[in-house]
Structure formats: C-alpha cells, structure tokens
C-alpha cells in the first residue's frame, strides 16, 4: 500500500460526495415534475412523446398498476432484444459478419440486459454486431436503468405521501429518467471518453502490420457511447470481452477515475433525493453514512490484500503486489478500488480480472453482492434495497423496546416486514440454491477453470453476481453453455423482480397510511445510533446467510495460499 494509493481513494470519495447534493437537487426537480434547465429543450419533445403513446402525464397508478406497467415494459424490451440478437446476421451494421446469436446465449443476454445485470456470457467483439451493441445493448442499458430509478422514486413516494392509493406514473418516471437524467450526462461523458482515446466509429476493425511483421486485427466500434451509459446506469456489460480492462474501453487513468465516479454518482445522489422528497435531508445522509462505513471497510481490505499479493506470487518471492489480471496504467490501488465500487453498486464492469485477485481480495466483491448491493447500489436499486433493510432495522428496534415501529411517520406493520423479508430471502435462495445445484451436476462441474476451493468460488460468484444483478464474473468459468446460460438467467429474473415487486407493494401499503407526528417515543433515524443499527442488521443478515459458503470458497483458499498449497486441474 502506498500513500499515493490512499490519496487516490480519498480523492475519489471526495468527488462522489461533492456530487451528491447538486445531482440530488436536480433529480428531485425532475421527478417532482418541476422545471429544470433542460425543460425548454426537452419539454415539448417529452409532451409529444406522451401524446403519441396515449399517456396522460397527470394520471397516476396504484402500486399494482405501476408494477404491471414495469413488467410489461420490461417484457416487451426482452422480446425486442432477443429478436435483434437472433436476427443480427441479416441486419445492417455488421462489418465483422457475426452469425446469429445462439438461442440459449440470446436468452441469457436479453435477460441479463433487461434486468440491468449485464452478465457477459457473450464475448463482445467476437459475438455481436455493431447494431446489436447499439440498438440492442445500449438501448437496454438506458431503459433498464431508468426502470430501476422509477421503482426507487415510487418507493420514496410511498414514504412521502399519506392516505393515497397512487405512486405516480411508471411511464412518466421512466421517460423523465431517460431524457432528463441519463441521456444528457451520457452525451457529455461519451465525448470526454473519446478525448481520452476511446473509439467511436462504425468502421470495421483496424488491420495492422506489427513492428515484428505479424498481422494484428484490432477490433473497434461505437464504444464510447455505450461505455458512458454502461457506467452511469450501473449496467456494466462490456463492449469488449475484457470489459473496462481493455485499453479501448478504459484508455487512461483519468478515464478510469471518471468511470468509477459515474458508477456511484446517481446511486449516492439518490439518498439525497430520498431526503429531499421526505422533507428531511438528514434521513438521506444517514443512509449514505451507513453505506459509506461498509464501503470503506471493503476498500481497505481489498487494497491491503492485493498490495500484499499472497498466494503464488508471494511464494516465488515477488514483491509489488498482485498484478496478475491487472493493467499497468491503473496499478493496484485503482484496480482494488474499482473492484469494490463495481460490486457495491450493481455495475459489474471490471478493470481487472477478479478471478485472479487474492483470496481475500476476491472475497470482498463477493460479500458486497451477497449483501444485496445496498452499498450505494445500482441506480435506484441500491436505494430500494437499502430501504428494505431499513424496514427490518426499524422492526428490530421496535421489538427491543416493545413499541410499534415507525419510520418517517409511517407505522411499519406486518405487511411491510413480510414483503421486506420476501425480498431479502429470495436473493440467497437463488444464489445458494443454484450454486448447490451446479456443484453436484456434471453440467455445472464442467464450468470452473480453476481447481480446488477457487473452482467453487467461481461457481458461487457466478450465481451471486447473477441474482444480485451485478454482472461481474470470476471469468475463468465457462458460462456460455446451455446449463449456465439458463440457470443464470433464472437467477437474474428472481434477483430483479422478486425485489422490485415487493418494494412496490411496500410503497403502496405505506402510501395508504396516515402520517403519525413524531413523539418523544419516536426512534430518531438520522443519527449515529440508527446508522450503527442499520450497518449491524445488514452485516448480521448477510453474515448468517452466507458465511458457510464463504468458508468453503475464499476463506479456505486463503489458508491454502498462506500454506503455499496449489491446485492443478485435471489431477
């Protein structure tokens, strides 16, 4: 670990924090339907869109109507993306003449992008045409993120409103998230990325003759426009197979820094949107503080583990940290930080290969996802995930003092707690259930590239990443098979909709309640005690659920590495 490494980490935190208030204020105006800087340009366009679609912007939906619209919209998006992938061979903008994507891979990839997971069973440059990347993936990067934002906004309205049945309009929230928040920022970011060296072209690959006389075919494409939304929308699906480790997808250390900032920007600012909409910004800061504590612990552990190498490299007497799978321009600190950021949010882009991280360095990304990505989290998804934990924390606090729990003036009753537990329990069911299945079936055991406990970690990481809608991988796993493509896609669907729909049900139930004024018996939810309780609840639920699986994978591997043990495949 170097002082410079810590300065980079501190600088990162400072920039993200500085963005919380301005971005939070802007997004609040957008979702409250107020005038913004962009209204003169986008307003007429937005109204025209509603007219053609037959949407009355003032007509609000109940929680069921809101959930139905979301499911319908996502289902239609899935069908469109699946069709594009299957038909890409006959569609334009296919200079590398990629063949149609196989049915199981197309199913997996479509599910993956509609659920904002962006798991890469596909190898970008070897599988997809430019049209599939743009019309298919870039598009879903926007709208899957927008629909996550919409659900979070609806849940916030559940807290901020009283005695009403409606939560807003899914159509309006999704459209406004796309047009006012994501798109303008992406245009600026994409041009910045090109200035750093990221390609943005429809021309075919560059054919070069290297200095030693060899042939090198260099894949290019419309990269920058996709990377901008891939990060900002916490999608994470790469244009290239190596994702953000690829020099074209992440050309400079500065581009890397900006990418990391944009992964957290919207998620962190959403805590401020929450505070503003419920009328007390301190409530938002308290939630961000709980996220921040968990984040900093993760960064410290990963940075320490990667800088001290361990395993094969240390045993050969090499110093300088674990550079296997990392790029020179980023080094140890920026790679470790990226790994924690991308799994704390539900991004899943990687600028270094997590599979080659040390045992404990790889444990942190795994834990981040198992906790449900509530540390800042995906755009929208992080906030509604954390609010579900808040309900459990408030419930626990209520049990301790024997009082009906309240949060922000709303009584938390059996229905809310049941829905919260449904969301919390579905994640481990998909993560651990499928992992268990894959470790006993031959089709599952064919996947891992590494032997010993690391092979188990590869499987566990895959289902954890899929159910958490993250999309990063221990990339050694051969996942482009019928078994993995199908089971991973099911895990993604469970992880997305079995949280979103309970979150909306909670919102509907809360919105219908009256607001009770705070009394002397009300537990204050903006102070250190509440932050500590929330962190404790997240860690206890996560720890109780996942510790055995972690002990079988990264923890036992750590002790094997310290003892100098190695594992050979096929032996």
């Amino acid at each position: 670990m170097t002082p410079n490494g810590w300065i980079q980490i501190a600088l990162y935190c400072a920039v993200v924090l500085a963005l919380v208030k301005p971005l939070g204020a802007y997004m609040t105006r957008v979702f409250e339907g107020e005038r913004t800087l962009l209204t003169p340009v986008l307003g007429p366009f937005e109204r025209g869109l509603y007219r053609i679609a037959g949407i009355d912007a003032r007509q609000e939906q109940t929680w069921l109507g809101y959930a139905g619209a979301m499911v319908l919209f996502n289902a239609a998006g899935f069908v469109l993306l699946y069709a594009i992938l299957r038909l890409q061979a006959g569609l334009p903008l296919n200079p590398a003449e990629q063949a149609a994507v196989a049915p199981d891979l197309a199913f997996n990839t479509s599910t993956s992008f509609v659920t904002n997971t962006n798991w890469q069973s596909y190898g970008g440059e070897t599988t997809l045409s430019y049209l599939s990347q743009m019309l298919g993936l870039t598009h879903q990067n926007f709208v899957s993120a927008a629909s996550g934002i919409a659900v979070a906004v609806a849940l916030i309205r559940g807290f901020s409103r009283a005695s009403t049945r409606t939560l807003g309009s899914f159509w309006v929230d999704t459209t406004r998230a796309t047009l006012y928040v994501l798109l303008p920022l992406c245009v600026v970011l994409a041009l910045f990325y090109v200035s750093q060296g990221m390609p943005q072209t429809l021309a075919p690959s560059i054919e070069a003759t290297t200095l030693e006389g060899g042939k090198q075919t260099i894949a290019v494409g419309p990269v920058a426009s996709q990377v901008a939304i891939k990060m900002l929308g916490t999608n994470g699906g790469g244009f290239f197979n190596a994702n953000a480790a690829h020099p074209f997808e992440n050309p400079t250390a500065l581009a890397n820094f900006v990418q990391m900032v944009t992964i957290f920007a919207i998620g962190a600012a959403f805590t401020n949107v929450f505070g503003r909409m419920v009328g007390d910004e301190r409530q938002g800061w308290a939630i961000l503080a709980a996220m921040g504590v968990l984040f900093l612990v993760g960064v410290a552990v990963t940075y320490w583990a990667e800088a001290s190498a361990g395993g094969v490299l240390s045993n050969l007497g090499l110093s300088g940290g674990n550079m296997e799978g990392k790029e020179t321009r980023f080094g140890i600190a920026a790679s470790a930080l990226f790994a924690v950021v991308t799994t704390a949010a539900s991004c899943g882009a990687v600028n270094a290969m997590h599979d080659s991280f040390t045992a404990l360095g790889g444990l942190v990304p795994l834990v981040n996802m198992q906790l449900g990505e509530v540390i800042v989290g995906g755009v929208g998804a992080g906030l509604y995930g954390m609010l579900i934990f808040v309900i459990v924390a408030i419930f626990v606090a209520g049990l301790m003092v024997g009082r009906t729990p309240e949060y922000l003036g709303k009584k938390i009753e059996a229905k809310e707690v049941k829905m919260a537990m449904l969301g919390i329990l579905c994640l481990p069911l998909a993560m651990l259930g499928f992992t268990a299945l894959a470790t006993v079936l031959p089709a599952g055991l064919a996947g891992p590239a590494n032997a010993g406990p690391h092979g188990f970690s590869e499987i566990l990481y895959a289902y954890t990443s899929a159910a958490a809608n993250n999309g990063s991988a221990f990339g050694g796993l051969t996942a482009n098979t019928l078994f993995y493509n199908t089971t991973l896609a099911v895990a993604m669907l469970v992880g997305r909709f079995f949280i979103k729909i309970p979150a909306l049900a909670i919102a509907g139930s809360l919105a219908a309640k009256k607001t009770v004024p705070a009394s002397s018996g009300t537990f204050p939810t903006h102070g250190g005690l509440f932050v500590g309780l929330l962190v404790g609840v997240v860690l206890i639920i996560g720890g109780l659920t996942f510790f055995p699986s972690l002990a079988l994978g990264p923890i036992v591997e750590h002790f094997a590495a310290v003892a100098g043990q190695t594992f050979a495949t096929g032996g």
């Binding site: 037959g54 743009m134 926007f142 245009v187 250390a253 799978g325 190695t566």
Partner: protein
C-alpha cells in the same frame, strides 16, 4: 392491462430510436469531427502503413525490442475450430488468464518467466508486471522499472550504449495524471518505434 399496451410499445420503440440509434450516431458524428484520430482507434502509421494502435499492446519477442507484459489471449485453433490456442496480443479477442491465487498453472507459468528473467539480469529484482498477464491481454504499457530492467539486453542487441537507451526510456515515462491518478508507465510500442528511429538516423 391491455390499455397499457400502447404506452409500453410506443415508448419502447421511441426510446429505442433515441437511445439506440440517434444517441450513438450523434456521438459518432461529433466524435469523428472533434477527435478524428482517437475516434478511429488511435492508429499509428509509419511510412504510410498502419503498424498498430497507440493504445493496444502488440507482441515483441526480439532481443533488440522492449517486451510487453505476458498476454493470455487466445485464437481459434486453425486445425480444429472448436479448440483455442495461445495467441498473445490478439486484439480481436481480449482476455486475462483468470488463473487464481492457488493455481498450479499460474505458479508454473510465473516460475518459468521468472527464471528466464533472472538469468538475463542475475541478482536484480524482477518487476512483478513482467511476469504477470494483464487483464485485457492487450496492455500497451509496462512500469518504468520493467523498461529499465530490459535496457542492458536491448542495448547489447542493438549495439547502442546502455546510457543512451536508458535515457530514451526515461524520456518516455508518462507520470500520473495531475501527479495523483493512476500509475507511472511506459508505452512499449512508442518506445520501440523511438528505438527504431535512432537506428534509422
């Protein structure tokens, strides 16, 4: 539910057209006008021929060249398309090794490279980036230490004084952005091109 079908389909088509076509095409047009070289992938030309990209590493094996980092990229086996064979710096199929911290294959690979480098410079510590594969397999850079490590070999093969080659390496070191962000590095292709320039003069 049926009355929701029209908004769902119209919004889907409209947002697809905006975010999937208009946005990437507008950015392509703007980027090509403002940063034409970078938007095209930063191709590097010498004598009118494209020799690579400034951002993409390529394979160097000669004694008189600076070498990049090990690359784990593969290509389809020409004899059997269902298999792959190692193909370092294959810029149409980026990949890392994905070998874990207790992998016997990793231990064997690193030890082989390490022994060769130790034989080249006995007693000098080997920079870790020279024996570890990059994440993309296309890393264009090595650390300044890794470049300086190779100076005696390159100078000898090229019949140049070591000081001259060392000075060239030092002049090619790119520092951290704003002195803070990222790590110092040397672009291997640019360094080898500069080395060739000395020979041509």
């Amino acid at each position: 539910m049926l009355n929701q079908l029209r908004p769902a389909l119209v919004l889907l088509v409209a947002l697809t057209a905006i975010t999937g076509l208009a946005y990437p095409l507008a950015v392509t047009g703007l980027a090509g006008a403002i940063f034409p070289g970078k938007a095209a992938g930063s191709p590097v030309e010498r004598d009118g021929r494209i020799v690579g990209s400034a951002l993409i590493g390529q394979s160097f094996t000669g004694e008189g060249s600076f070498h990049g980092r090990p690359s784990a990229t593969t290509a389809a086996d020409p004899a059997d398309a269902s298999k792959t064979v190692p193909s370092p710096y294959n810029a149409s199929n980026s990949a890392g090794s994905n070998l874990g911290p207790t992998s016997a294959a990793l231990a064997e690979r690193v030890k082989g490279d390490l022994d060769a480098l130790k034989a080249e410079r006995p007693g000098v510590p080997v920079p870790v980036d020279l024996v570890t594969a990059s994440g993309s397999g296309l890393d264009p850079d090595i650390s300044p230490e890794a470049a300086l490590f190779q100076v005696p070999r390159v100078a000898k093969a090229r019949n140049l004084p070591e000081d001259r080659v060392r000075a060239l390496v030092t002049s090619r070191i790119e520092g951290r952005t704003l002195g803070l962000i990222g790590e110092p590095r040397v672009n291997v292709l640019a360094l080898n091109l500069a080395l060739d320039e000395i020979a041509r003069r």
